[in-house]
């Protein structure tokens, strides 16, 4: 709530100064700088050092404790690696599953309800079970990530298959296309659009799964460090660690978004 007030104030300030609205990019930048400045001021003046540290200290901790220290850096890299593997596995599993489920009315009618049933379970419920089965190492985190990431892809691929324009199929038939050609030249290109749309959500979900698992297993990995910094009331490196991971998440999301844009150049 206070964030939106600050935003409104900052917005008005910016507008007043320029006498004309700033381009949104600059407005956002202005808001960001204003918030950081506010944070810095509050932390130095009033903040309880056990809970709040100014951004400058966070940056310092970033290079001092987080990126410099081998153990922390390795934990971050491990998380990234787990994410990459989980995402690749999720795609490798979900794409054929989605194609099979959506292929015919029969498979859709008989298999999709199962997909929906599984999708409706809040997966965090079975997190302890996953760790119990796969152990405390990367396997559990990858598995949990995969189980989160498969659903958006399956659902989207199935929808894409159902929504192939029958007009295109008819047109292809009239020109003499056989079944294989229709699948290659009409169905698959139609589905690819949906597939990429599901890909971005899948990346977010896979990340969620891996993160949850990592945070749950607090004996090693980033879960260990987040707990360490929380328990010792050392907010600066905690903020720094979270910032690094957040930037990683944004970068990955952006990468998938770029891939999506490139594949749908024709959407005009």
């Amino acid at each position: 709530m206070s964030a939106s007030l600050d935003a409104a104030t900052a917005g008005r300030l910016a507008r007043g100064a320029a006498r004309r609205p700033l381009p949104p990019v600059f407005a956002r930048l202005a808001i960001l700088i204003a918030l950081l400045a506010l944070w810095e001021f509050y932390a130095r003046m009033f903040g309880d050092p056990a809970f709040v540290r100014p951004p400058t200290e966070v940056v310092h901790a970033l290079f001092g404790k987080i990126l410099a220290e081998d153990t922390v850096r390795q934990a971050i890299l491990l998380t990234f690696w787990e994410l990459a593997v989980a995402f690749a596995l999720a795609v490798a599993i979900a794409l054929p599953v989605g194609l099979v489920v959506g292929a015919t009315r029969f498979t859709h009618r008989s298999l999709f309800p199962v997909v929906l049933l599984l999708y409706a379970i809040p997966q965090v419920t079975v997190l302890p079970l996953f760790i119990l089965i796969f152990g405390l190492g990367p396997a559990g985190k990858i598995a949990f990530g995969v189980s989160h990431g498969v659903f958006p892809i399956v659902v989207n691929v199935v929808a894409g298959l159902r929504n192939v324009n029958p007009l295109f199929v008819n047109s292809a038939r009239s020109m003499g296309a056989n079944r294989l050609q229709i699948v290659r030249r009409v169905v698959l290109p139609s589905v690819i659009g949906s597939f990429f749309a599901g890909l971005r959500l899948s990346m977010t979900m896979t990340l969620l799964g891996v993160l949850l698992a990592e945070l749950y297993v607090s004996t090693a990995g980033i879960g260990y460090f987040t707990q360490l910094y929380s328990e010792t009331f050392d907010p600066a490196p905690l903020f720094a660690l979270i910032t690094v991971l957040a930037l990683m998440a944004i970068a990955l999301n952006e990468a998938v978004r770029r891939a999506e844009l490139r594949s749908s150049r024709w959407r005009g």
Binding site: S4, A7, G11, I121, L132, L215, Y216, F233
Partner: protein, 256 residues
């Protein structure tokens, strides 16, 4: 999507029921016949026994109360905050252009990342889960509110104004009804995110609540008890799911 007939829904339910029955048969076979480790997969009988014990002895009540109240409070905060913020932002096209991508971008980062911060500030009690759930559910609600109000057709507004509508009338008769379905979708998504977040928070780090019970049982390697709690949570979650769908259907019919 084409409207689903009653028969199609029945068919879907039948298949899901069949899947569950088949799953249970497989479960029975795996544990009682094929001898799968009882640590990973306890016997159905054991799980059933633990579950009945939990219910009969009333051990279910306290964690259930904690979780449900946490969800209720955090959802309330998220809904009020999300719709309020969404409405305020939607009033200005400029604000929308500036802030909407920010909200959308933040939603792309799993808020789970910030969970340790919530624990740092609110402790490991229910407050941190409430704050975490509220923060997470805020975004889809705010985003959908912005989209809902933002996408009201210009023509509808112009038409109402030309007939002399005041600001209040415009809001009640044009903006709100037009934006309502989209906002409702946001509220629905927000609810499930809230529920999953509270549960997740309890599982990760808590001393109370349903999530904690699952994690605690896992820690003690008491698989049957863990499975019992999992079954319980799934039943609750499915019931809530069904409840929300029912409410949504009523809302739609009322809107007609």
């Amino acid at each position: 999507m084409a409207a689903t007939t009653a028969r199609e829904i029945l068919g879907t339910r039948a298949i899901q029921a069949g899947f569950i029955a088949g799953g249970m048969a497989l479960w029975y076979y795996a544990t009682d016949v094929a001898g799968v480790s009882h640590l990973f997969l306890p016997k159905i009988g054991s799980v059933y026994r633990e579950l009945s014990e939990l219910i009969v002895k009333g051990a279910v009540l306290a964690p259930l109360r904690v979780t449900l109240t946490s969800v209720a409070i955090s959802y309330f905060i998220a809904a009020v905050g999300g719709i309020g913020a969404g409405y305020l932002v939607a009033r200005s096209a400029y604000l929308v252009r500036v802030l909407e991508p920010v909200f959308a971008g933040m939603f792309a980062i799993p808020i789970t990342l910030f969970f340790p911060l919530f624990v740092l500030y609110f402790g490991i009690g229910a407050e941190s889960k409430i704050a975490y759930g509220a923060a997470y559910a805020f975004f889809p609600i705010a985003l959908n509110t912005i989209a809902g109000f933002g996408n009201v057709e210009r023509r509808l507004i112009d038409s109402a104004r030309s007939m002399g509508a005041s600001d209040a009338q415009l809001f009640r008769r044009v903006l709100l009804p037009a934006a309502f379905p989209v906002i409702l979708t946001g509220l629905r998504i927000g609810f499930f995110i809230c529920f999953a977040s509270v549960l997740g928070g309890e599982t990760l780090l808590s001393r109370t609540g349903l999530g904690h019970q699952i994690a605690y049982a896992a820690e003690l390697m008491e698989s049957a008890r863990m499975y019992a709690w999992i079954v319980l949570v799934i039943v609750i979650s499915t019931s809530l799911n069904a409840l929300v769908s029912r409410i949504e259907t009523y809302q739609q019919r009322w809107q007609q």
